[in-house]
Symmetry: D2
């Protein structure tokens, strides 16, 4: 209700501020009997964590997750999985520049208006640090969904857009570069561009594309909880996201029905896949693919004017070590949220028929 939970049956509740004692969550409804690969979870966290390459923030956070419950002798027990990631550097910062003033295009102002005051340290609850908890739960969801393959990658940075259709990409190259773009040439260009932007103390937006393969037919619910509607909500709930499209997306509006309709093969697969693997909100067994637009990070290392609590103009400047472009680190977050959606609908789909 207060917005800190996601999912119905496979349900994650998160807590934690950027510079509080710890962030973490409770994953409730995770089925019993999943053998947990703890290393795989930490690997996902490492893909998200700061300091992993030259084009991301150079902050140091080990992001080590501790599990408190719900796993026994290496397997999930069916009871809630409580976990926490302690914030190691929560007292080391100087927040004078944000305590009493509002950073443009950040949530500082609206938090004060909504709640009456805010934990201003590092953005508090509005910090993308919260997404580390999502990555933990998403990694468990992936293990539950072991047959599905969920691959996200950076397909655009600023104006640099990779036009290759996903079918022609080698997903094993995603992790071969710091940008997480499976086209090494394009990746090199993007990386150079991000470094340039960083030098300017500026930031740039980007797009992450995601492909889900080996999806069973029937996931998703007809009216409000269409599979793509939940995927869309999941993605739009990630910090800095401004748009979501799946299948033919915005480009599909210029097509005619006679072109856009996906003709059937005899086995129920389709010759084309403008539908993006989803018909009427329900998976049809074809690949699901979608794209997520991220705005440029709001924190820039340039002087700017803003207002304080009393409405006075103040002169300030972004401090600290921030991401010049958020998309390389957001790839595992997109995958995690996709996995949470797919796990939730997988469980729900078990309840659809009278005899099953």
């Amino acid at each position: 209700m207060a917005g800190n939970s996601f999912g119905n049956l496979f349900k994650l509740s998160t807590f934690g501020e950027s510079h509080g004692v710890a962030i973490g969550g409770v994953l409730d409804g995770c089925p019993s009997g999943i053998e947990i690969d703890f290393e795989a979870i930490q690997t996902e966290l490492n893909r998200r964590k700061p300091g992993q390459s030259a084009i991301v923030t150079q902050r140091k956070e080990p992001d080590t997750v501790e599990f408190y419950s719900g796993i026994f002798e290496g397997k999930t027990t069916g009871t809630p999985i409580g976990f926490a990631i302690h914030n190691t550097n929560q007292k080391s910062h100087d927040y004078t520049h944000i305590k009493d003033s509002y950073r443009p295009s950040h949530a500082d102002y609206v938090y004060d208006q909504k709640y009456g005051f805010r934990d201003y340290r590092g953005g508090g609850r509005s910090s993308a640090r919260e997404t580390a908890s999502r990555v933990v739960a998403g990694a468990i969801a992936k293990q539950f969904l072991s047959k599905m393959k969920i691959n996200a990658y950076v397909s655009q940075v600023g104006n640099m857009k990779m036009e290759t259709p996903y079918q022609e990409l080698d997903f094993s190259l995603i992790e071969s570069n710091a940008v997480r773009c499976p086209d090494p040439e394009m990746a090199a260009k993007m990386e150079g561009y991000i470094k340039e932007i960083k030098k300017q103390g500026d930031t740039i937006g980007g797009v992450i594309s995601c492909v889900i393969q080996n999806v069973p037919i029937g996931l998703g619910e007809p009216a409000f909880d269409k599979l793509h509607a939940e995927l869309g909500k999941a993605m739009l709930s990630i910090n800095a996201v401004k748009g979501f499209e799946y299948g033919s997306g915005f480009a599909g509006v210029t097509m005619k029905g006679s072109e856009h309709n996906d003709q059937f093969n005899q086995d129920g697969t389709t010759k084309t896949n403008y539908s993006g693997g989803i018909q009427g909100g329900i998976s049809n067994g074809m690949d699901i693919y979608f794209s997520v637009a991220f705005k440029p990070v709001a924190t820039i290392i340039q002087p700017y004017q803003t207002i304080d609590k009393d409405g006075n103009f103040v002169q300030t400047k972004g401090k600290g070590r921030h991401d010049p472009c958020v998309v390389p680190r957001a790839v595992p977050i997109v995958e995690a949220m996709a996995a949470l959606v797919m796990a939730d609908f997988s469980l729900l789909n078990r309840t659809i028929k009278a005899n099953s």
Copy 2:
């Protein structure tokens, strides 16, 4: 859970198939004391209903709503509002062509796979007819939110895209033409184009843009239930929608942070509004604006090949009277879903502070 409810506090549950006895819903959590303007509700239904102009389907459905409960002496009582719209022509059709075969890019195939069988008449539950119930509830939400102004309009049909920023549009012109585009010249072109497409027995996609004004600061929840995430889900839950973007949207990815950041005025408003009225998932008092992409309608009046239940190819053809372009009729649906989201978050926001 099964996807037929929307909202947390201001909650709509819908029921009904295209050609069953009736469609309808229960609106639960609607506050007491709203004076209901029944004519305004019917006006919204009329904006959605078939047969209203030459560029929409020529089916005849009066779409008259009956209220069963929750309104007494013209005012909402705070108890659930049950309502129904009887289907007047549920027995008159011939469905031989869809009973045993699967229309491409429709939900026929996935329904059979998911549920074991389906009500095939007119698409059953997967028909956009279900959205009439949303329009009823949305019309009540609008009356609850009387101070907010929610205006949607058609901004693109096929390749015809209106580039005028919404600030320069006269929303009172939206209803002046059959397309629901507030630029009369563009509207005329779009209308001509849709007629041409119709003549071809084909269909075309489009974009609806929506602007919400006079929004109080503070609506939306920080983590998963960000205001734009719920708006996105709401829009993506409408039949035929393929994409959603708000504020700078997909175009924002090419911008730098130094350009994209919305600088504050002293009163907390911002000089630009790339944020689209939402910061960190919470409304900041500026106009909210977003766009919704609709694919071309799947039903075309051309011969096509498809498969039957046994995987045999069959030759068939769309029958009946269908929309060549869905966006003119979808405008009130977009507004209705936006109103439901805003009403829900308005109620939720009353619970945020200890003393209020």
Copy 3:
């Protein structure tokens, strides 16, 4: 949220006031493929309806249910089942005596305080008429749960308490008398007593006991949503209920652990069943049994003093035809609510294990 829905996966939302146009509901999440026995549904409604015998209210309401959706060719489709029962006599009454004054131990006063005003006709939403919708949904739940046997019966009226343990009762006798007590001798005494009470213009309380047999092991969730906690909530949500106990109940507090513990047989069944078929909130396969206490109906046909809206004392008297004792008609309601709980947990239990 606003209290008009019950269940998570097998979910009923109800609407309707005693003397509005119609009452009804939406049953969402009912699995597809259940062959519906419409007569059995009406039979359950008839067990609840007024005028069925000399010891219940003599009001005439046919209580005929119309189904609007979710059932096709005699089977549930997996989509929401919308239904309504039209109120046939909603305009015929005179409510002068309750419009402006508050009946003692009714909800009139608190409704006015909570909502600002109320639909005063026949109690509006607070009338037990709402439970007819529960009976419809419960009858469908019973058909889904066809292997479980759910039998409720009257075990106490005023001081007349049947001490026979349920194992010695013949449930086929429940419907053999107007009281719905399976002990014919006791039933005759209870009936005589209720008639005497009725003659006095007074009312009397009672207890309904319920037994659920053939329950699979494993239904119910460990912490907050224990099987008996949901059963308790379900029963306490029925009008006029003041208490709930299961298994050894309140009498169990006087027992020692050494007596109360249910020793196992080798097949996992237990020698005694003080647990009432539930251990740690989860069904253990033994019979579930519980009791529900109903207060005397508040409407009495005797003169009494009360207050009006302005706090003046007024002299008034119950009018119309009311139940002298609510338990005979409440038997099908208890069964219906029990069926809803068992259906919900049955579906939920399909989602518990990783591989199933």
Copy 4:
């Protein structure tokens, strides 16, 4: 959904097994701006913790709560409050006697059946240790509800029943004795009896009564979520509870309507209060009072026969230090759950009227 969350707007999710790393929870929806009295929270935990007196289990657990988030500069921020209580002695025990066999009237057997296996250490998730997390959240709820007074106390142990009406009790005496009975003479008798039971290696049941004062009018929702239905569910969700009654309760069934009806005073209060402060599921401003029945603890320190996983009979005996009677330590749990219910409905009630 999986049963580990409670509440809608003021929502607690708990995690943790008896002998895992930690137990804890996330309290979501707690309003911003509550000044937290940390000592008061620890005091509540101390009322529940083992080892506090001679009549409770002599296990040693400090039960110190750590807060991870949601509180800043001593006040709640409106974001989720994450907390944990580390289990200090999770590795010290010998569980050979329960690992492969099923204790009678415990959840061991049903957990294995439901989940396929279980964390058998100390009962795992089914241990009442989980309720410590409820006490933490309940203590915060109490601080939010500072004007309401919630007092629970032991009113019965075995056959020893205190008949004094709550109005004649001095609640300040509740904490004056180890039993938590506000009648010192009765308390002494109960204490002696519990010691005797303990000497026998046996256990005994009891009743806790609870009174909520200074309740505003209007809390609770009409149909399924009646205030007493949620209170009932809350209480029945506590380990070992077998029954719940409020107001006149089970005794009310023997009363006539003419006696039972609560006549109004001119200010809307009532002369009697058989209703227990709740009419039609909504608080009427009078004191709310209810009783909760607890069975005798299942763990007894006597030899007994039971079965192992393969259905063989095995001879065993309870080990460790267990409570001879659960009610003295359950008093703060009853209060905590009551506070959670009242907090949730208090927030919900802010959303009822259109203008408020």
